[in-house]
Every structure is written in structure tokens, then in C-alpha cells.
């Protein structure tokens, strides 16, 4: 063992924090709180990665998860019937299925941890993690990462197009009007209006 004892102490504390905050995700009654408990869990894992000398991956975990959880919280609040996410709500459902799935996954992962043979090749002390990661990203694995990048970019552009207020028939805040069937005609697909209350026939 060529590292100080304090590393072990911090590992245990961070592991406890990660597990406890991960468990709190399922106990809280608000989507915003659940997202941020998950963020705390991920940050604890990120610090553990820094302890494991994966300095870039650990720090990258902080900012990726911060933005990710923030956006996730906003999207969940937007799409759920829970204005602002402060109203208490039941966060868990399908109890029997999820308990069974959780137990099964735990058994599988525990079996992997106990039975698998992990490689035991200590890295040299002067290894530069940023450099080796860069070589990996732009070396042999370039095709995989670039394809994943393009897919993600396409998704982002799609989301921007879908959520932009400039709709197909004009700006969203003005109310969208489909074009007429003939040039200059009435908007297509609109319900018929009765003539009495209409008042549309202006003669200027």
C-alpha cells in the first residue's frame, strides 16, 4: 500500500455519501429534490474517481452531471402536472416490479464484484491522465466517439427546433395560423364561424 490512510477514510465517507444520497432520491417527494440528491451522489462518485487518479473524468463528472441534473429537473417540472416541483408527489411506482428488478440487478452486480477477476496492473506514477484520454478519444476509438457526438448534436438541434418559439406557421406567442388552401384564402382546417357573431366582413 503506497498511499496514505486518509485516502481510504475519504473513500469510505464518499461511498457512504453516494449510497445514502442515491437512496434519498427514492424517498423524497419532489422531482427537483430527487434530481439534486442524484447530483450529490454523482459528485461523490466523481471525487472517488479523482482519488483513483482519473482526474479528468472525475472533474468532468462534476460539470456534466450539474448541467444534466439541472436540465433534467427543469424538463421533469415542465412535463409533469406539478408546477415548480414543490408540491409533494409520489415519486415511486410499479413497486413489485421495481423491487424485483432492483434485487436482481444487485445480485448480478454483487456477483460480478465478488467473482470476476479484475486486472491487477498498476499504472506508472508519471502517467498523464489527460494526455492518455486525449489519445484514446482521437486515436483508436475516434469513430465511436465521433458517431456518438454527431448523434448527440442531431438530438440537440432537434430539441431546439421543437422548443423554439418560431413555429411552422409563425411565432408561438402570436398564435399559429395555418396558411389558406388557396393563395390569400382563409386559414385551412379552422372551425366554421357563424355569420352573426363573426364581424369579419369589413368594408373599408
Amino acid at each position: 500500500m503506497d498511499y496514505p490512510l486518509i485516502v481510504d477514510v475519504f473513500f469510505v465517507l464518499l461511498a457512504i455519501l453516494a449510497v445514502v444520497s442515491g437512496w434519498r432520491v427514492f424517498c423524497t417527494d419532489s422531482m427537483v429534490r430527487a434530481s439534486f440528491f442524484l447530483l450529490v451522489s454523482f459528485i461523490a462518485v466523481g471525487v472517488i474517481m479523482i482519488l483513483l487518479a482519473a482526474e479528468y473524468l472525475g472533474v468532468a463528472m462534476f460539470f456534466m452531471m450539474a448541467v444534466e441534473m439541472m436540465v433534467m429537473a427543469i424538463f421533469m417540472v415542465m412535463f409533469m402536472m406539478n408546477p415548480a416541483g414543490l408540491n409533494p408527489m409520489m415519486m415511486v411506482h410499479q413497486h413489485k416490479f421495481s423491487i424485483a428488478a432492483g434485487a436482481a440487478v444487485f445480485v448480478v452486480l454483487a456477483a460480478v464484484a465478488l467473482l470476476a477477476e479484475f486486472p491487477d496492473t498498476p499504472l506508472p506514477g508519471d502517467l498523464d491522465p489527460v494526455k492518455s484520454l486525449g489519445n484514446e478519444l482521437l486515436g483508436d476509438s475516434m469513430l465511436i466517439f465521433e458517431s456518438a457526438g454527431i448523434v448527440l448534436l442531431t438530438t440537440m438541434i432537434g430539441v431546439v427546433v421543437l422548443s423554439s418559439h418560431r413555429g411552422r406557421y409563425g411565432a408561438a406567442e402570436e398564435g399559429s395560423m395555418p396558411p389558406g388552401l388557396v393563395p390569400g384564402g382563409d386559414p385551412a382546417g379552422m372551425p366554421e364561424e357563424n355569420d352573426e357573431g363573426g364581424g369579419h366582413h369589413h368594408c373599408h
Binding site: E55, A66, M69, V71, P129
Partner: protein, 308 residues
């Protein structure tokens, strides 16, 4: 070892943060006075009186807030400022934490600040604070992106993600001249992430104080202190990324560093008092349509410059 690696860095960061936050308040008061705005009798004691007054006031309560998050958010924002300042080098040897990925850590501070500011507004459970929180999130993403591209630009010539290497790479020519778009864009990020002056949209007066609208007493003092401290931490990052950090003739490195941080602070506070607040909708368009493409240009500039 414990003294040099734990106690000394903590003391250094605390000292710079507290002194810096006090100087921010003094400078802001002095600039306001010079511009003919109503001012206190003494700019040196006004921040202290204000702080002592807040300390004696009662902490406000709203209807069913998320107490833990509400009380924790100002402290977390202050902690983020301290983390951000901890990676700033004051001289080749005087660096609180010389992380290999310190530039990325600064990026994470910006990202986590978004979460903390949102939490501050959200947990109060009041309308105006919530609007301020959502406003900041909508804008914060664009600040993070601009900052990321600008910082990759300064990391390119240094061939490192370490602030000390970034400073060392400016030995011949400072990044403020080498990449002329970088510092102005980064200053916008700084005003944004501390929601100061023209970019104060989270705690703005049109929301009666925004995320801080329902906060009073000691928590309010911590929040104000944290905002000033974040401005100080930002000035440290800006001075090392663009103004050559500790580099300079005659004076010792740390003194140069502090002078450059003060210069950045003075420029930011002057902008804060001179430029009117931007309308939120217009600000989103401005960030995504004007400043983000400009940060791409800055990155391409840095890349071409690194290749030549």
C-alpha cells in the same frame, strides 16, 4: 506536509476571498459615489455597517420553504467561490491546489453555480424568487458554453488544462493580446455567473430582488458575501487565463496577481454601474446568436494561432 498542503492553502483562499469581497463592496460604493449616485458617509465603513446591520436582523420565513436547501444555497455558493479561487495560481510555487485539470474544475464551478442559484430561488417557495431561478437557468447554460469555448482557447497554446501552465504559456505574449476576443467574452461570463450589473437578471429589481427577494438577516449577508466572493474568484481566473497571472517585472508574482485581480474587479464593477440591465428575452438571443458564435471565432482563432 499537513501545514503546507492543507492549512496554508485554506488560509490563503479565505484571506483573499474575505479581503476581496470587502474591496468589491468598497470599490462599488466608491464608483457609485463618483458617478453621482447617493453614497454612504464613508466608503470604507459602509460595507461593514451594512453587514453588521444584516447580522442583527431577523431571518425571514416564507410559507413552507425547503428549509435545508434555502439555508444551504448561500453557503454552497460561497463554497463554490472558494473552490474556484483555490485553483488560481498566485506564483509558480504559491498555488493553493495545483490540480492537473484546474481549468475544467473552474468550468464545473460555473455549472454547479447554476444549480445552487436555482436552488436558492426555488427553495424559497415564493413567486418572484422562482422566476429569478428559472431565468438564471435559461441564461446560465449559455454562459457555461461561452466560458467553455473561451477557456479551451487559452488551454490550446498552453497544451494543458492546468491554470499554472496557462499562465506559464503567456511568458512571451499575454492571452489578452494573443486572443483579443477572449477576455471581453470571459468578462461577460463573469458578470453573468455573479448576476452583476447589466446581467443581473436573477436578483434584479424588476423581480423585487429575484432569488433573494424573500431572504433577510444573516442568510442575506451570506448571499451578498458569496456573490462578491464569486466575483473575486472570477477575477482570479480571468487574471490567470488572460492577463498573465503572476508574470510582470519588478514586483513579486503574488503582488502582480493581486493587482491584476483588482483591475479586473474595477472593470467589472464599472460596467456594472454604467451599463443598464438587459431585457431577459433579448439577453438569451444576444448570448446564443451573438456571443456564442463569437466564442467559436475565438476558438478557431486560438486553434489557427496554435498551428502557425
Amino acid at each position: 506536509m499537513i501545514v503546507s498542503e492543507l492549512i496554508l492553502p485554506v488560509l490563503l483562499v479565505t484571506f483573499v476571498l474575505v479581503l476581496g469581497a470587502y474591496l468589491v463592496a468598497v470599490l462599488d460604493e466608491a464608483i457609485a459615489g463618483a458617478l453621482g449616485m447617493p453614497r454612504a458617509t464613508s466608503v470604507w465603513t459602509a460595507p461593514l455597517t451594512q453587514g453588521a446591520w444584516l447580522l442583527t436582523q431577523q431571518a425571514n420565513a416564507t410559507e413552507a420553504p425547503d428549509w435545508r436547501a434555502w439555508r444551504l444555497a448561500p453557503a454552497l455558493y460561497l463554497a463554490l467561490a472558494a473552490i474556484g479561487l483555490a485553483v488560481v495560481p498566485f506564483s509558480p510555487t504559491l498555488i493553493p491546489t495545483d490540480l492537473v485539470t484546474s481549468v475544467v474544475l473552474w468550468g464545473s464551478v460555473e455549472a454547479l453555480a447554476t444549480v445552487v442559484i436555482f436552488l436558492h430561488g426555488w427553495s424559497a417557495n415564493t413567486l418572484l424568487a422562482l422566476i429569478g431561478a428559472y431565468r438564471y437557468v435559461a441564461l446560465g447554460l449559455s454562459y457555461i458554453l461561452i466560458s467553455m469555448f473561451v477557456l479551451i482557447g487559452v488551454a490550446l497554446p498552453a497544451e494543458s488544462l492546468q491554470f499554472s501552465q496557462v499562465v506559464a504559456s503567456q511568458e512571451g505574449l499575454w492571452n489578452v493580446i494573443r486572443q483579443p476576443l477572449g477576455l471581453p467574452l470571459f468578462l461577460i461570463v463573469g458578470l453573468g455567473m455573479t448576476f452583476w450589473g447589466p446581467l443581473n437578471l436573477a436578483d434584479s429589481r424588476d423581480l423585487a430582488g429575484g432569488t433573494a427577494s424573500a431572504v433577510s438577516g444573516p442568510p442575506r449577508l451570506v448571499w451578498n458575501l458569496a456573490r462578491a466572493a464569486m466575483l473575486v474568484a472570477f477575477s482570479g481566473a480571468a487574471a490567470s487565463a488572460f492577463l498573465g497571472g503572476w508574470l510582470g517585472p519588478w514586483l513579486p508574482g503574488p503582488v502582480w496577481m493581486l493587482l491584476k485581480m483588482l483591475a479586473v474587479l474595477a472593470v467589472l464593477l464599472l460596467i456594472g454601474r454604467l451599463v443598464p440591465r438587459v431585457q431577459p428575452e433579448r439577453c438569451v438571443t444576444l448570448m446564443w446568436v451573438v456571443f456564442l458564435p463569437l466564442s467559436f471565432v475565438d476558438l478557431i482563432w486560438a486553434g489557427v494561432e496554435a498551428l502557425l
